[in-house]
Amino acid sequence: MNPEELQRIAAEELQAKSAAKHRIGVCTASGCLSCGSREVLKAIEQEAAARPEANLRIEGVGCMGLCSRGPLVMVQSGPVPAENSGAGAETAFLFKELTPADAPALVAYLEQQKSDPPTVAAGSTASSLAAKRCDLSAPFFRRQVKVVLEQFENIDPERIESYLAAGGYRALLDCLHHRRPVEIIDEITRSGLRGRGGGGYPVGLKWSTVAKAGAFVPQAGRSSRQSAGATAADRPDGPRKYVICNADEGDPGAFMDRSVLECAPHRVLEGMAIAAYAVGADFGYLYVRAEYPLAVERLRKAIVQAEKRGLLGRNIGGSAFNFQVEIRLGAGAFVCGEETALLASIEGRRGQPRPRPPYPAEHGLWGCPTLINNVETLANVAAIINRGADWFAALGTEKSKGTKVFALAGKIKNTGLIEVPMGISIHEIVHEMGSGEVGGIKAVQTGGPSGGCIPAEHFHLPVDYESLQAEGSIMGSGGMIIMDEGAAMVDVARFFMEFCVEESCGKCAPCRVGTTQVLLLLEKIGRGEGTAADLGQLEELCHLLQQTSLCGLGQSAANPVLSTLRFFRREYEQLLVDNTGKSNETDGSQSPQQGPQEVKK
């Protein structure tokens, strides 16, 4: 498809949208679907069909963030906002917790064409509707800056036309027709984008390493049986480079990547295609967890649609560039999010990490140079190309540019998905956006099992890679679990260690056995049977894990323990038998299980 055709399709779609008096978008991401948004969508469609004079356009759209209050429904009126303008529609209402029973009132109200939002006085049915209206000027919405999640409320994840109307694939065609690969890498480098999977490695640097590496003839595994999962088609004769999208999100309490994949699969594909063009790859893999069935289904659909429109496959957009994408499902091992284990898994081998170097950028899939980026990283790419590196670099802090998507969970009122500029303080996220009770929050856990807990006294800290690391936590992929006074920190540490014990692959001895020994000590201390010597041993083992484990999983497995020891050492010491003689201080109403269970949810 050439740029003109693309514009025509986008224009048609926009026209169809603008023709409607009101546009109703019902969230069809996992969160809202699980509380019945499909039924709400159907009910509204039926109601609208019965009243064609209302002139409504109804579609399933992406996540609108406030996941705890689903199903969410956005009603927009007036002209469709220009793409990338950052402006919302002329009038927009967001309704929370809608049920199919609310559909008649909603449609009836919209048919009356009132310009005001429904008020409580407007009648009994309308009043229930009014109560369900979200205040879009609340900090939760107002503080957000959307790059990755941009236009989610306008994009139907299952239709490529909808993504095209939102300005989709323009960046890719612009790159293919007007920019050389080296210029694209330069743009990404100047933007200051860093890996959003948690590591924070400069993306431009990674891209240029892969671009500089010579393409390589793929090699079979070390022995014939080891690569039994791979077919001949996977390993062609010619030299190759690969682009891999790491969508093996597995931190407890994190669902950013799932949402992006479910709501804008094309945005990720576009990012992959641009990356492939920039580094000289012609084949890509999307490594997605099998636990994300909806994301997989939509990605499959998106790939077919993009291929049909000539935006993936051979001679993309009429250029000489070829790029093919395949989906590989992860079978549930957390360690497969580690890049070398991920590569082994794609090659059909046991999903275990290997020592680095060599890094995948030089020696990756089947020995070929391989670019591995996280979902959110790739979802940033098109926006940077469209609006320029300077615009992106203006967002965020000096060393951490752009925005970050966080999944808020735990003891706050507004749980869900937010995208905020880097450098925003934890206080703003937890208390202002999340509406967490000031004084009632004890700590926030970031980075999942690889991260740590940041106590409330440190909430003034800006959220960026360096600040969080200095506090013994990590930015991680973006999970944020907010804990109140009911959370016993020893139990929090125990929960994450249980997770690591479960997920250790068993290749290296420190992680395989060390995590279990740490867990045993945490359990012993938690039961009130630990001694001061046990605490010393706990720290010794944690340092061993950090220092000698083979991969990031083991190296960071001790972080939750070390960071709770750092900030909440008293809680550990209070549990020691030979120290105070007192056992666990938490009473029945604040069960020590509370924190961990919250996480498990």
Partner: protein
């Protein structure tokens, strides 16, 4: 390994010449510097799994496994510090606590690499609780036996079977502490069709996990010094 650039590095203050494709362990061995190892075996691909051979490299944030780390120009390596010794001891303790290592009744008592390593590192007791797992023993093979209780998951058997014998009978199943060596698709060893009964796995096993039947306590002596020779001969053959 050879064919790369020649570089110089310092190991324990001594200047060493090396090929960049070598590993730090190989260079150290060539220069008579001892680095303790367990999963590593000359002649097999290194995996860097046991973490016993960790050495300190100046500028690196954490110790690096000597068996898989390549030297670089001007690199300064330290193979023995109190810190490293403590770490190695603790890792070995972890491994000893993981299985059921009762030397007095073991076929390789006196010829066991794990036992010898414990002696070298001065591990004469455990400070962490032993886990006493219940693991399966496979005695279905007519000539050999597998006692998983004595396995340290070094994967030498997996590698020798795949890389040298080419049968790939052995593999690892399960995660974490549940990881275990299995033959074929977790069939009893005696029923594993791919096994050629060559016995290489038995000879390379550092502990008494793999043993010849009919050997009494302390009788099983392992022979694996021919492995590097075998690989060298193979390579010659290929190059011809």
């Amino acid at each position: 390994m050879s064919g790369g650039r020649v570089i110089t590095l310092q190991i324990d203050g001594r200047d060493c010449g090396a090929d960049e494709n070598q590993t730090i362990l190989e260079v150290a061995q060539e220069n008579g510097i001892f680095i303790p190892t367990l999963c590593h075996l000359n002649g097999l691909h290194p995996v860097g799994g046991c973490r016993i051979c960790m050495v300190e490299v100046e500028g690196a944030p954490r110790p690096l496994p000597a068996c898989v780390t390549h030297p670089a120009e001007g690199m300064r390596v330290t193979t023995d510090t109190p810190e490293l010794r403590r770490r190695r001891r603790l890792i070995l303790e972890l491994m000893l606590a993981e299985g059921n290592h009762v030397c007095a009744v073991c076929v390789v008592n006196g010829h066991c690499e794990l036992q010898e390593l414990a002696l070298q590192l001065g591990v004469d007791h455990l400070e962490i609780p032993a886990l006493y797992p219940r693991r399966e023993v496979d005695a279905s093979h007519p000539r050999f036996g597998l006692d998983r209780n004595r396995c340290v998951l070094c994967t030498r058997c997996v590698r020798v079977c795949g890389e040298i014998e080419g049968a790939h009978t052995w593999d690892v199943m399960g995660r974490g502490l549940k990881a275990a060596i299995i033959s074929d698709l977790n069939q009893p060893w005696g029923e594993a069709e791919s096994c050629t009964a060559c016995g290489k796995c038995v000879q390379v096993c550092p502990t008494g996990a793999l043993f010849e039947k009919g050997k009494a306590t302390g009788e099983m002596v392992k022979r694996h010094l021919h492995l590097p020779l075998l690989t060298a001969m193979r390579k010659e053959e290929e190059e011809r």
